[in-house]
């Protein structure tokens, strides 16, 4: 016997799909509503299988373009044009992966970690170097945070971005040392300036080839005397420094809070009990604990979808591959909304919440929605006019339309493309309420 799902079930199912899987594919929301919340939880957590969706995205092979050219020569112009084209392809390649993945949790987590390690191509310049970091983030996206931190502390893009190429024993540059602890592993006020000075020394001797992200350690330029960091004296290189930092309890709390903030709630705090699931620093068990938490029916836990999350969700619903859209326009519109992949505004990462909701951004949202709907598959709206508004909520994974939006959509039912457009541009779809 079929029961009508409760509002709570519709809300929790919608939240899990939008927040962990970039939103439902057509039919998925109603299917999971029928199969129940436990099935939804295990579905959004699936990863690590062969993914026929991802398999359909051609691998992106970027060339090592070598050092920056000198002067205003035609070779220099070719170089900058290639940088530009490669950057564009890299963005579309990743957006395609987010959209077509059948088990999107890995791409979703890679997206989270990109914001966490917040490296921008504006400082790195080379798309290849950014792509290598992206692959590192993907490899560790649901694995062990200690391994991720050890890989990232010697990641070429991060080293260039945070000036570790300019970090010498005689003239230290503390940027990577400080941000690694403050923004990436421990949190503010969890370490002293003494720790920063020592950490910067642990990170000396590493040099990055900017054009390909290869990092080499020159032991002659590495500070090899034992260092005291966070109260422990030991001989440290970059990896053992990362490992030391990650071993602190503050690291568990910090990472847990970051995940809670981005996936669950900007207004409620993470329950301390969650930290237990991250004792071994296994990311997938922490994510599983979040998915199985009781937070999903609490009305306070609404989040604004970031522009990329909104865009990828709409593409998944409409079965639109981002690379089939005009790449220039799409990237322009995303950047004007404030979120172009590989271009976080600074090392602090993307903004959040209400900052994504400005009148100016709404115009670009409109333009993006237009281009997606123009080529999108509107089959889910091929129902009678009287059922179209509800069918639209079920298609997009919206728990419930407000009376405002329901009446607006009802006024457009003569033209399903207008229903789709208005729905994607509604407060209920911009926000994961």
């Amino acid at each position: 016997m079929r029961r009508t799902p409760s509002f709570e079930q519709r809300l929790a199912t919608a939240r899990l799909l939008h927040r962990f899987n970039f939103g439902p594919t057509p039919g998925q929301y109603t299917d999971l509503l029928e199969r129940g919340i436990e099935t939804t939880q295990s579905t959004v957590l699936e990863h690590g299988h062969f993914d026929s969706g991802l398999d359909s995205v051609a691998p992106l092979v970027l060339a090592d373009l070598g050092p920056f050219p000198q002067g205003n020569t035609s070779a220099a112009m070719t170089f900058w044009n290639t940088i530009e084209m490669d950057s564009r392809e890299l963005v579309m390649w990743w957006l395609d992966r987010m959209v077509v993945s059948r088990y999107p949790l890995t791409e979703r987590m890679t997206w989270f970690w990109h914001g966490h390690w917040a490296t921008s191509i504006s400082g790195v310049s080379y798309p290849l170097t950014m792509q290598k970091q992206n692959n590192t983030l993907r490899t560790h996206a649901l694995a062990n945070f200690r391994d991720m931190a050890k890989a990232m502390v010697v990641d070429g893009a991060l080293n260039v971005w945070l000036n570790n190429n300019e970090n010498y024993i005689q003239s230290p540059n503390e940027n990577l040392a400080r941000e690694f602890m403050e923004l990436m592993t421990l949190g503010v006020n969890k370490f002293t300036q003494h720790d920063v000075t020592a950490a910067a020394r642990a990170l000396t001797g590493y040099s990055t080839d900017q054009s390909n992200g290869n990092v080499t350690l020159n032991l002659k330029q590495h500070f090899s005397t034992p260092l005291v960091i966070l109260g422990t004296k030991s001989q440290l290189n970059a990896e053992s420094f990362a490992s030391l930092v990650v071993s602190k309890d503050e690291n568990a709390r910090f990472i847990m809070d970051r995940l809670w903030f981005r996936f669950v709630s900007g207004s409620t705090a993470a329950p301390a009990s969650l930290a237990g699931s991250f004792a071994s620093r296994d990311i997938s068990s922490l994510i599983s604990a979040l998915v199985h938490s009781t937070a999903w029916t609490n009305p306070a836990n609404a989040l604004v979808k970031s522009p990329v999350e909104w865009f990828v969700g709409a593409c998944r619903a409409l079965k639109v591959r981002p690379s089939t859209l005009n790449a220039n326009d799409t990237q322009w519109e995303l950047s004007q909304m404030g979120q172009l992949p590989f271009n976080p505004p600074n090392v602090g990462g993307w903004t959040y919440g209400q900052a994504w909701l400005s009148g100016v951004a709404y115009q670009y949202r409109f333009e993006l929605a237009q281009s997606m709907v123009a080529t999108g598959d509107l089959a889910p709206l091929s129902v009678s006019k009287s059922k179209m508004v509800q069918a639209c909520a079920d298609w997009l994974g919206v728990a419930e339309w407000s009376r405002r939006t329901a009446s607006t959509l009802a006024a457009a039912v003569a033209t399903p493309s207008e229903v789709a457009l208005a729905a994607l541009l509604s407060p209920e779809y911009m926000v994961s309420a």
Binding site: A302, N346, Y362, T405, P427, V431
Partner: protein, 395 residues
């Protein structure tokens, strides 16, 4: 084919100036609209609009010394014919792609400063643009408008660059100008546009963030009504036209801004110059014509001065690809209802060139800036341009 056009973004990349953009405020239309109503610019306050032509505009095919026999002989493959000229003196003519500016000249609203550059001109786009934007021959990293901002009480609206990255001229030692995006003026269109304002209504079932989303929709449409029917249509005009249309809209709305910057790229006409430059100049001309029409009907009609400049002019002798290579001096155009129109400085002779075959410099650009600082920004020249006192006034 290699795209060899020199553009502004690449200049910013090369000079590293793009990084300053992160320190700059990107102003929203809402904030501009409220600034215009809360603290409108007092009437009769002079306003400067800089129009930067990136790439090195060929001055000799813009303001043409058409009776000089060397003009025809040195560049026979790109010399403009009599049907492509709009003579305004016995010896000078505008390129016929510039009918609006020619008409404004006839109304004494265009000052042409001739032979403008600086001593020992650099033929590098990057060095020369850096010199123009910093107003320093020695590699000062701050921009001249930026240093003027440094002398002013802090206000995000004092100077605004149109676009997504700031020109180096707008970066001071302490202050940075703001930016506004031209495409920020494009409103939703099509049949669904009439539905969208309904989505901005509040609903009792909204959670706080949904209510904020609804408010953002209403903001967009209410800002549009505040700035009124002057909002440029997305589909019309060149990029420069859209930028200047936005600037005139905001000036007429009394936004409290003293200096604006807009720009156009692709003037690096090494090949096929005539076709390319004529199209670009036509864009400049149409944009200026529309801008002056818009300003001329408002209360700001006498307040606004436009300066059009490029990092250098081009070689007198054309090359074999029907183009010209990098040159030196070129005319600077100053346009406004309050400008005393006419010719300033001297036209450099075409038969007395430097060792590279380039025009001599007869006016230093810093004198032009000096006049603008004095007449428009009411600031002593030497406060902004180190060891420089000359001011060429066109007002």
């Amino acid at each position: 084919m290699i795209n060899c056009e020199f553009d502004r973004r690449r200049f910013l990349q090369w000079t590293g100036a793009g990084i300053f953009a992160t320190m700059s405020t990107q102003l929203s239309l809402e904030s501009l609209a409220s600034a215009a109503s809360d603290a409108p610019l007092p009437v009769n306050t002079p306003i400067l609009v800089l129009v930067t032509l990136y790439g090195g505009n060929d001055g000799l095919n813009t303001v043409v010394p058409f009776t000089d026999p060397v003009y025809e002989s040195a560049r026979s493959n790109i010399a403009l014919s009599s049907s492509q000229l709009l003579p305004f003196t016995d010896s000078l003519a505008f390129n016929s792609s510039m009918p609006s500016i020619n008409a404004l000249y006839g109304q004494n609203k265009v000052a042409i400063v001739q032979g403008v550059s600086y001593p020992n001109p650099s033929l590098s786009h990057f060095s020369s643009m850096a010199i123009w934007q910093s107003a320093s021959l020695t590699g000062v990293s701050s921009g001249w408008i930026g240093r003027w901002l440094d002398t002013q009480p802090h206000n995000a609206y004092n100077a605004i660059g149109v676009g997504s990255t700031l020109p180096p001229a707008f970066v001071g030692e302490k202050s940075v100008a703001s930016m506004v995006d031209v495409s920020g003026m494009q409103l939703p269109w099509g049949p669904v546009a009439s539905l969208l304002p309904r989505l901005g209504r509040s609903s009792s079932s909204d959670v706080a963030l949904e209510a904020a989303a609804a408010t953002s929709i209403t903001d967009l449409f209410s800002t549009a009504s505040l700035l009124g029917p002057l909002i440029p249509k997305s589909s019309t005009g060149s990029m420069l036209g859209q930028q200047l249309s936005l600037v005139s809209t905001l000036i007429n709305a009394n936004v409290p801004t003293r200096v604006w910057e807009v720009n156009l790229s692709s003037f690096d006409t090494h090949t096929g110059e005539q076709g390319d430059q004529n199209v670009l100049l036509a864009q400049v001309d149409a944009a200026i014509g529309a801008f002056m029409t818009s300003i001329g009907t408002g209360s700001r009609s006498n307040d606004v001065t436009v300066m059009i400049y490029s990092e250098f002019g081009r070689r007198v002798e054309s090359n074999a690809s029907d183009g010209t290579d990098h040159g030196t001096s070129a005319p600077v155009l100053l346009i406004g209802n309050g400008v005393a129109g006419g010719l300033y400085g001297e036209q450099p002779p075409l038969n007395a060139l430097d060792v590279n075959g380039n025009l001599e410099v007869t006016t230093d650009f810093r004198a032009v800036y000096g006049g603008l600082l004095q007449d428009i920004l009411a600031t002593p020249v030497s406060d902004i341009i180190p060891s420089w006192n000359t001011a060429l006034s066109v007002h």
